[in-house]
Symmetry: C2
Subunit: 136 residues, 2 copies
């Protein structure tokens, strides 16, 4: 791991003052806000990109499924590069700040059912801050 990554992880482990919600903050606008990276890089880029691994289609599927499942207060957004390209496709779910890698519609179904609907975690797909390569 390089110095920049070390520094970033240290900063994350000891969050800056005020990253917690305050008692007088307005209620969350979305109870759960999902961001799926759909960044595009030129073919052959050494880091790759989430869109080349199918993230656009998978995010569209996730958005449609969330609607079919009647999940209120949930938004499935696209985002620009989340900078964890080697682990992609990646998504992050806030306010929890839990990250996932996912490859198939079945992965998406499991994240929606277990995490988004029931508040659980899909351990096999979760990413850890010091992780730089997919497991398995």
């Amino acid at each position: 791991m390089n110095d920049v990554a070390d520094k970033r992880i240290e900063a994350a482990a000891a969050p800056a003052p005020g990253t917690e919600r305050r008692a007088d903050d307005p209620p969350l606008y979305y109870a759960r806000h999902v961001f799926c990276c759909t960044n595009v890089r030129p073919e052959g880029h050494p880091r790759g990109c989430c869109s080349a691994k199918g993230s656009v289609q998978l995010r569209n599927y996730m958005k449609a499924r969330a609607k079919e499942m009647g999940l209120d207060g949930v938004r499935i957004n696209v985002s620009g590069c989340l900078d964890r390209c080697e682990l992609g496709p990646t998504m992050v779910i806030y306010p929890e700040g839990v990250w996932y890698t996912y490859r198939t519609p079945e992965d998406v179904d499991e994240i929606l059912e277990t995490h988004v609907r029931r508040g659980g975690r899909v351990r096999r797909l979760m990413l850890h801050p010091d992780q730089t390569e997919p497991r398995e």
Copy 2:
């Protein structure tokens, strides 16, 4: 306010189980993760869009300023439509889930200095869940 908005806000006010971080969740990858809507809609669309109000340039400015300020553990991302178009340009800062509208580089500077660096709030720019029009 329509029924859909009512339902959404109700859901947000009483978050689904598990939207809080769990003791065994990995540390946050980014201490602060900012998403700036840069969605593009066709000219003349009744809801407008953030990009037509300068959000792409403002987000690029914010990213460069955050770097100049040496803010560690912060990422300034672009996102697709956050669906609060009438209030745009909009951004949301997680994990707090605090929303802002902003129009100028000075607005961006104030959000970076007051919220991102010092953990405060920029009251004059904050959005509330039931807000459907810009104030002032």
